[in-house]
Symmetry: C2
Subunit: 334 residues, 2 copies
Amino acid sequence: MAGKIRTIYDLAELAGVSAATVSRALAGKNMVNSKTSERIRKLAEKHDFRPSALARNLRTKQRGAIGVVVPLGHDRGQHLSDPFFMTLIGSLADELAERGFELMLSRVIPNQDNWLSKLIDADRVDGFIVVGQSDQSPVLDRIASDYLPLVAWGGFVQGQIHCSVGTDNFLGGRLATQHLIDRGCRRIAFLGNPQALEPSLRLEGAKAAIRARDDIELVDAPTHFASEVSGSDINQFLSDSDVPPDGIFAASDLIALTAIQVLATRGLSVPGDVKVVGYDDLYMAQTSAPPLSTVRQNIAAGATHLVDSLMKRIAGEITGSVILNPELIVRKTS
Amino acid sequence: MAGKIRTIYDLAELAGVSAATVSRALAGKNMVNSKTSERIRKLAEKHDFRPSALARNLRTKQRGAIGVVVPLGHDRGQHLSDPFFMTLIGSLADELAERGFELMLSRVIPNQDNWLSKLIDADRVDGFIVVGQSDQSPVLDRIASDYLPLVAWGGFVQGQIHCSVGTDNFLGGRLATQHLIDRGCRRIAFLGNPQALEPSLRLEGAKAAIRARDDIELVDAPTHFASEVSGSDINQFLSDSDVPPDGIFAASDLIALTAIQVLATRGLSVPGDVKVVGYDDLYMAQTSAPPLSTVRQNIAAGATHLVDSLMKRIAGEITGSVILNPELIVRKTS
DNA sequence: CATTGACTTGCAATCGATTGCTAATACGGT
DNA sequence: ACCGTATTAGCAATCGATTGCAAGTCAATG
């Protein structure tokens, strides 16, 4: 019975008005008589009718949705279920929902340069938030020069064209490393993939911290992000070293925790033999045992900034990049 | 220059054919002359043109997207960033991407009964996967009676109308509890919110395990899911008990790990004083120290089943519910 | 040479809303 | 009684594709 009403035309017929009037009444325009409007509203309610968002979108050119896209280098083996991404996506979902936008989640393997153009042309969303630029910064820059509603999470590099929101990775790297130095470490290993943007910036920060100190050695141990592989990377690295490091600065909490496990299997204690500092301050950093010292990125604040900037850009405004301050959190592994 | 081509009409004009032909050529129909087709394809490529998915969707009534919706009882304080959800969503993203579907993520606070109808009527997606039914089973049942493409993750109850995919929570609860009994526990606490469906089933399983044993006590300690609040719930529970439990069966890994922390603050050791078993076997269960004994739900397999069933339903087929077997994973906390 | 049929292509309707413009009605003022 | 203005409602175009149907071309067949 109530199943008959599928379009505004059906409802219009039922109400004895035109589709235009129904459309306006449901959109709450004051152009229609308040009595008529009320009557139509009631009728719609009664028949549980809601106009198709799709048709509206086609006409109004507003999509009411934001694409959240995660480019995953397959060779890097990072997953969408990476806890950092997932935490950020969770915050983004909250933030977008609050502003009445849907979230379209895309996982992309960037094996062609046009992965982003494809998504844009599909024309399903009002704008994009790119999470984890990895090595796709050139692609973002190219697109950003004539596509405004695009914001990326991640590192900022001088001269970039696209808008990014992130923490100061250089500073974070420096803080972490300085802290290890202060704790007496003299042989510090950096665990992370310096091919990717953010880890490379953190490594730069680490280098800056030991500059002008010739009694300290910094070892760079390329490590994958995904936990499945980082373990063996780390093991390999430790086997290859004559002397094990006495301090580890990991590019993520995940790597740090994996490292701690590997160290344990090799009979090295944390923080006794080796001090470890992670990066991100995910939930797991608090719950691990011992609780992990790490560099906090305020993910919720990041999500808010990402969405704020994007909304401005959708409105046609040009926004600059945002760089938040990371914070060193000292717990029990250092 | 290449920026001129926005619609198939533009491209049609450029190619000197009709829009219909362009549409068919780009869709790869063999109805058009292969030379013409090839020429149009080349032209589209050159101008980096791709037809609007939106318009196509309106016409074809296929959306090319699946809604993944997470109903979160606000009073229960569970977040979208709950690691279990996020892991499942990650797997779903992979699974859907593989089949060429976009994923629309919605976080819903079910304060009205029509949250699902609203989403359905918005007409943006081909079907829905509901993650975490919590207490919304009646809503799902009502909808499922005349809306086919809907599948839910979670517990199965006799007589339900909607299609669900999940593990056997009753069995999982029984396994965990039996294991604690085998380890010598005599006073077992269940930590979880029995208002929600899945925890309640796990509790039933726990009860079944101690049935016919009158030397074992089962204490039920209602606990929120979110880590922010479960800590104080647990603390409260322990303070209220005259004798602390010697075994804890937690409804999630998150709760289990929180419990272990709380126990530590009260000077109780795990597994010495208290043995703990979690639920889910998330990544964190392996990395925690000591590694957590838990009941594994095979999330990746679950995601595959969810998507499989949904695809069948979209095709008009009716599918039954799927119940996977959970598996007890014994690590170091029990 | 007329007819048939296989291939191609284009016309125009359609999906379900929104909205600029026009028209009808009502109301107040002179 | 007449005119100007404010309300309210409807017509029809539009967003950008897809597709049923009709029509055109051209070679093969009887």
